[in-house]
């Protein structure tokens, strides 16, 4: 199934293998993704194609500074029935979908951004004291532009923590650009076909949680997260120097769940330390709060995560000893 989904996505999205894999892992984990990249590299296209391949309901919210929370979650409106009686009826917002593209999420005010919080964590929205559940599966794929920072509102840590992955969408290489030009400037633009549905995705999500994870893999995840805390018992050198606050336990959950999903899509029924290492960067990079020194030195969270992964020993290596 995974290969078929990849294949269909590959018909539309050129290159970006890591990003595509990251998004799919997040889908199988039931997590949300923050996509970061300059405009025009295919972020929106990827999300649209994904919604089509998975045959899920898709909506797009363009975040602007004047966007209000009600514009996202919906609002009660006054309606008049044929009998002339008036009543308040809930008009669902674009959040009531299965794949929500929150485009340029950092352009909206924190108030509007926080409207997504409940939806992302609880899979429900509350309007005027009434809670409305969202249809499962539900994913938020938010994008943000890393270069135009003026007039933006950086996401608060609490909201960042709710994203399973933060994926950087790089500029495509020359071959990919040529391929994009060939595909998009001709008379026939390729389109992805649906190969799965919501039930398939939900089954995959259930299967991911059954993937085996040995105690030493779990311990490794815990140590990795622990090492990102400069005040912790075993901080990594990079964390001690650059980090103000490390990853949360939710980060550890995300790490292990993503490792399980990766093991599954690679045809294994058990997660390994290698899987954890592979997903550490997208799962942890947005959960580290760097200190002033890191900002001054231009150190990025990616570098800190890489250093932490290199420094924390595998539990197996420590116990085997030879």
């Amino acid at each position: 199934m995974y290969q078929r989904i990849r294949q269909e996505l590959g018909r539309v999205v050129v290159g970006h293998d890591e990003v595509v894999e990251g998004v799919l892992l997040a889908v199988f984990c039931g997590g949300h993704v923050l996509l970061e990249g300059v405009p025009g590299v295919g972020k929106t296209l990827l999300v649209k194609a994904l919604a089509r391949v998975l045959a899920l309901k898709f909506s797009r919210i363009q975040f602007t500074p004047d966007l209000m929370p009600a514009d996202v979650v919906g609002t009660n409106v006054l309606v008049q029935d044929p009998d002339g009686r008036r009543s308040l009826a809930f008009q669902p917002g674009p959040i009531f979908s299965q794949i929500v593209l929150a485009d340029e999420i950092n352009r909206a005010t924190p108030k509007t951004q926080s409207a997504l919080l409940e939806a992302m964590q609880e899979y429900a929205v509350t309007v005027a004291g009434v809670s409305y559940p969202l249809e499962r599966p539900f994913f938020v794929l938010a994008t943000q532009n890393p270069i135009e920072m003026e007039g933006t509102y950086p996401l608060p840590e609490a909201q960042l923590d709710r994203f399973l992955f933060k994926l950087r969408v790089p500029f495509p290489d020359t071959e990919s650009v040529v391929e994009i030009l060939e595909r998009t400037t001709g008379s026939r633009v390729p389109e992805a076909q649906p190969v799965a549905d919501a039930q398939t995705v939900l089954r995959m999500q259930a299967l991911v949680r059954e993937v085996l994870a040995a105690p030493h893999v779990q311990t490794y995840v815990a140590r990795l997260v622990e090492a990102t805390h400069p005040q912790g018992p075993r901080p990594a050198r990079a964390a001690r120097r650059w980090v103000r606050y490390g990853a949360s336990p939710r980060g550890a959950q995300a790490l292990l769940l993503a490792a399980k999903a990766r093991a599954l899509v690679h045809g294994r029924a058990h997660a390994s330390v290698e899987d954890v290492r592979a997903v550490a960067l997208p799962a942890l990079r947005h959960r580290l709060l760097l200190n002033f020194e890191a900002d001054a030195e231009g150190v990025e969270a990616d570098q800190v995560v890489r250093d932490v992964v290199e420094e924390v020993p595998e539990v197996a290596a420590a116990s085997a000893g030879t």
Partner: protein
Amino acid sequence: MDPDRLLQAARQRLAWRRALQAGEAAALWLLLSALGAQLGTLAFPYPVRLEWAFLAVAAGGGIVALATRLLVRPTAMEAAHWLDRRCALQDRMATYVAVRGGAPSRLLGHFLRDVQRAAAEVRLREAVPLRPARWRAVLALAACVVAWDLVVSGSTLPNTPARRVAEVVRQEGRRLQDLAREWEREARWRGWRAALWSARNVRQAAGSLASPRATAELARRQLARLAAEVGAVRAELRARAQEQGAPPGPEGPQLHPRAARALERELAGLGRALEEVSLSGEQAERVLRALTRLESTSPLRPQSPAQAALREARRRLRAQDRAGARQAVRRAEEAFRELARLLEEEGMLAKQQQEVEASSLSIAGALQGATDPEAAQERPIRYPNMPRNRPGTSGDRDDKDGEEWSWEGPQYGLQPGAGRVPEKVGPPTPRLQAQRRPEHLPGQPGEGKVYTGRVRAPAAGGEPRTRITGVPARLVRQVDEVLRAQRVPAPYRDWVRHYFAELAESAP
């Protein structure tokens, strides 16, 4: 292979692998230490010629480490981790160990089949190799330790204590070689077989000491063995001299060879007198009195062959049997000649033993000074146990004032304030007809170069050039007290003492 059986086998091989590694590491470190100690002898002269001991300790340490490590077997999880890492199993075995007894689930069956497949492809010999990685290094180090002893041992770096000790060893070797050649020549000329054999041994040992690879410790062991051998030959000769009637003493026969020669010469004269055809009665009476005097004054024991022959000669002469008396006198003369030869040969062996012991002492002093400069500075001057004329033998008694001189050991009078100094001018010291020992002028330890002088010319005959002066005992005592109180370094004490002695001499 079944995953459980694979894990069991991996545990066993892993235990052996760790044990071998521990043994190899222990041997490696011990051999490295040994080589380091040997390298250290380039600069410091401590004894490390224990290469076989080093090898034995390295092997023993390796075996102990191996056995100790074998007792602690790795757990199944450790073996699983090892296999995962070595065979790129992506934590399959470790997960298997963790979940094998767990509740069944949708993916467990799939996982178990996956593990079965992976375990079947594992080659245990390659996954857990038993051959230690550094065995070549261990063998190379062991070879280096042995090769050091065979080839490089004795090498020293310039301007180091080890080099100074090595120079002393070689000097002593050359000195003993020269002396041994002289002894060999003399022994061959005189027909002393025991002394000749011993001199050859000394020459051979001295040759090995003079070689560039001789070490101080080896030299001391060799010299000690040599001294013991010479001492054994001396003891044999002393026993034979005592059989010939020489009176026994604590350090050998209490008879000087010159005394035996004098008696032999006197008996030869008496023998010639008895051969006179026209020997008058008065002359015969004088010979008889001479024989009686010789018998009574001879230091030999009464039951010795020479004494028996003298008694026989007297008896024959009283019985007017001149021929029998003459034969008896000849027998006595031969007995004294044999005795003198034994004593002289024993004297040469004593000289050899003393020189060997002196060399050993000199090397020991150099070693002590090299390892402890303070000790070298404050060490009292030690002289070898040179043969002294013992009281009671001829020439040792000071007959001029009747005062008996007692032997109080070789260190007598060397310590400041100790001993007695007779206030008189004694007879000039007779020159020894032997080569002088090399003179070492080491200066202060650790400063400057060591200059070594070597005098090969024979000693000058006649009267000593240094004038013998009488020094009052009171002055000597005062000087000794000052030297002790002011802590004058040992090399300068004699100069200070001479300076005050000259002052005393020039004083009115």
